[in-house]
Symmetry: C2
Subunit: 520 residues, 2 copies
């Protein structure tokens, strides 16, 4: 009303833009395009559209009729659940307890921490009506839960015995962003976990920040087979209202963009001050708690698609694949398929009993070629083909999704071989990704080197004076069509910084090596 | 704007009303009241306030500064997760796959099914702003996801091979109700699972409705130790837009109210028609799918509190208790506590290894008496006391939460005895609840008998003509201060209905026995 000029179209925009078969309902003729047939775009030629096609054709995502919102299909959710099972067990071991706080925040509470709300205000979605009635006070939907939770921390924490308090929740959050919605990577609603902890001392908080960051590294490197850099964010890029932010940073060579993979923040005592979270210490004095918050989201899955996917579709690391092995019968004309189908089912049984996630595709309305393409599109790590000759020779043929290698193995050795090859696929995906990531890193000591590397879509390691004004200046000077460069992180593993090294941007003495680049 | 008279206060109302120590922040002096000390209200005397106190003092719930929203604390979440682990595994065995659809619905889709939207419209919360900008089109928050999902069912289902389609999601939903918000039982946001399935034939849909209903019965009876009646809802009470609704119904003797425990709906082909969910059958003809939807929510936990709780606080069934056994040292003056604490920790280790969830309370700032009350308030099923005499005699003392029985057992026999007693507690909770529930049932064949039983807060089994107008009339005639009576369900287990039996309300020939009563 007050601001009619700022009205933004929110329905259908995303679906229209997506340029995939994402219209809801009706169009029955498009069916064959959805899966099994190739992608119309190549990863190296048109990355953006390639990505949209992969996530839809692999049946991970369906575009939704509200822009920036996406349907997470079972193929996605099972990856999410695998990571969740790992992370949830690990934090329970650390005595973190799960909780669930409301989706809604009252404006007074939301706005209590000034820097924090400044960071989030433009993206907050507001509920103003129920049924046909106006609410007396509009209510915000959580973009994150610091201000939702901390009034209650101040109620629950009284003495040193109430510390540490370690809570986590698995939930949805909403950030009504308008810049380039992208499935998984930038969506208006997403799933995440958010941990919120309070300690008596900074030392304990500092220690937990790194413990959690290590779990995030493991999610990326051990589960998703994606190399990440652990490091600290700059003052400009840290969490709004926090003391310092650590993150794991991934890189997408095709677009030359960094991706903040997950963050573990030390909030210091700033929120404690705002929300009055004090405790009586052992000596009977009053003290303020030290707080952390940390989160990873469904963004992880988007990074996985971007890093491993290829022109045939998705490529899933075995550790997170809903289906690790797909068994496909390969009948010739006039073959007796009964025996072959039985061999397929036996193979499924043997591997299932051995603990693998395996299925057979025995559909009679598709040929083997179509099935190969279909399961390649969906990224299943290993295919087992069984044809008449295999039956005869008591063997099966294995075909790897990651490098297309084929191998005939005796049925008697099935379990060992499959285990070995799945391990090798997991390893190879990581190695290849690391090789590509490493090949994307450039060291730049001067502004010219920096700009050259940036234009070559590199992840740039540069000596920096660590001044906020300088980073702001870098952003301004690099603001072009494909987005400004910013600092990604200061890696914990620092190369040597010889005395007298100067900042690439300001020419002042450098204090550290920092990664720079464009980012998602 | 248009309807300023209908403005409703939404901030703080619930917290003020709750009459518990629910104010956020600041009031440090109230700490001791929060746990460990007794309840100020008795279950039989002031059930409503007793309930509010129990859920807060046991640390299950914290009242929130937005009315009708509640914080689910770890003590609650671990119960939720136990039920979730059971149900999720069972439906995965039925080949149901997890998915996640957006929180937001566009108005056009929401309003597509007329009966359905009429049922939910008054409770829908609307987002109309993001940041400082008005949205062009207001967006609804899902009260349930039929209309969110089914446009995509129509896209994904083409041929008979795409059926059955079985999806489920674990998520939050919002129903902005204004009548008596009650933690767990009636809240504006709650957690649930919602299953949505589509079949080629009604027979398959019918079968699944009952399979799921059986899982709901097991959640109540096997996990929460609460007897329920399986049955069918009346036309008036069925799911808006569906074909028929089945449910498990619990009963709260103290308030004389039924509680719909969980529902499994057959939607028939009604939504399929509205959303165009058709498929090509084996003969190449077009057919419409048959659909189900089914859900249980955090309401389950509220029913558990109401049924088992007592004047000392919560009573948890061992199968869902976060902590099944609490070990408390009972030192006398001048005792060497070191040996005793070691015995406590050994007990914890032994029982943990045997698979129990057990903790020791070794805090030195509370005495045994305080600890007994504290863990009784939190409902831990079994307490183990270890004092100097127990050490001497190589025994421990067991104290049951459900019936206060005490028993000394030799340490050598610990695991077997604890297992046996936890099993017996689980059984006893169910038996006692069933006895009370059964004692609340009255058969009423006439209107006078019906009204007498209703005034005695009974759950009434009455012969009924099964006419919608008659149920509407019953509602009108019973509308009093404590709420109108309605049909709860027509139980699948029907007593004999002799020919010539007349409807208690209309005097017409009765068609079935139906449960009636006031309800939550």
């Amino acid at each position: 009303m007050a601001d009619a000029g700022a009205k933004k179209s929110n329905i259908d925009a995303g679906a229209k833009k997506s340029n995939t078969n994402a219209k809801s309902g009706g169009k029955k003729k498009e069916v064959k395009k959805e899966t099994g047939l190739g992608l119309s775009k190549k990863k190296d030629e048109n990355f953006g559209e390639w990505y949209s096609e992969v996530v839809v054709h692999s049946e991970m995502i369906e575009y939704y009729d509200i822009s920036g919102c996406y349907i997470l299909r079972p193929w996605t959710m099972s990856i999410w659940e695998t990571m969740q099972a790992f992370f949830d067990a690990e934090i329970k071991r650390m005595k973190v307890k799960n909780t669930y706080f409301p989706l809604f925040v009252s404006p007074g509470v939301l706005e209590k921490e000034k820097d924090h709300i400044e960071g989030f205000a433009p993206e907050v979605a507001w509920v103003t009506k129920s049924g046909k009635s106006e609410l007396e006070v509009p209510i915000a939907i959580r973009p994150t839960s610091e201000t939702v939770m901390y009034p209650y921390f101040s109620k629950w924490i009284r003495g040193h015995r109430d510390l540490p308090l370690k809570l986590n929740q698995w939930c949805n959050v909403v950030r009504w962003e308008f810049s380039n919605p992208t499935p998984f990577i930038r969506s208006r609603e997403f799933l995440w976990q958010e941990g919120h902890t309070a300690f008596a001392t900074q030392a304990e908080a500092d220690e937990e920040v790194l413990e959690i960051l290590e779990l995030y590294r493991r999610i990326y490197e051990e589960y998703l087979a994606i190399p990440v850099v652990k490091g600290k964010k700059s003052e400009l890029e840290k969490f709004a209202g926090g003391l310092y932010t650590t993150s794991v940073e991934a890189f997408i060579p095709n677009t030359g963009r960094g991706v903040q993979g997950a963050t573990s923040h030390c909030l210091g005592q700033n929120f404690a001050k705002m929300f009055g979270i004090e405790f009586e210490n052992e000596k009977g004095g009053k003290a303020m708690v030290w707080q952390n918050s940390w989160a990873y989201s469904t963004r992880t899955i988007g990074v996985m698609v971007m890093v491993h996917g290829d022109d045939k579709g998705l490529v899933l690391p075995p550790k997170v694949a809903a289906t690790q092995v797909i068994v496909v019968p390969v009948p010739y004309k006039d073959t007796n398929t009964k025996e072959m189908f039985e061999a397929c089912l036996r193979t499924v049984d043997t591997l299932t009993e051995a603990g693998f996630r395996v299925e057979a595709d025995l559909r009679d309305n598709y040929g083997p070629g179509w099935k190969y393409s279909h399961w390649e599109m969906k990224g299943v790590p290993l295919r087992i083909e069984i044809g008449p000759r295999d039956l005869e020779k008591k063997q099966v043929r294995l075909a790897r999704r990651d490098n297309s290698d084929k191998l005939d193995i005796p049925v008697s050795n099935l379990v060992e071989q499959v285990k070995d090859i799945l391990d090798r696929i997991q390893e190879n995906l990581f190695d290849v990704a690391k090789q590509k990531r490493d090949a994307s890193i450039r060291v730049a000591k001067t502004w010219d080197e920096f700009m050259e590397a940036l234009n070559q879509k590199k992840m740039i390691l540069a000596p920096w004076c660590d001044e906020m004004e300088v980073e702001e200046e870098v952003k301004k000077r690099t603001k072009g069509e494909i987005g400004a460069a910013k600092s990604l992180c200061t890696p914990f593993e620092q190369p040597e910084l010889p005395e007298g090294t100067l900042c690439f941007a300001s020419g002042k003495p450098a204090k550290k090596w920092t990664y720079w680049g464009r980012s998602y």
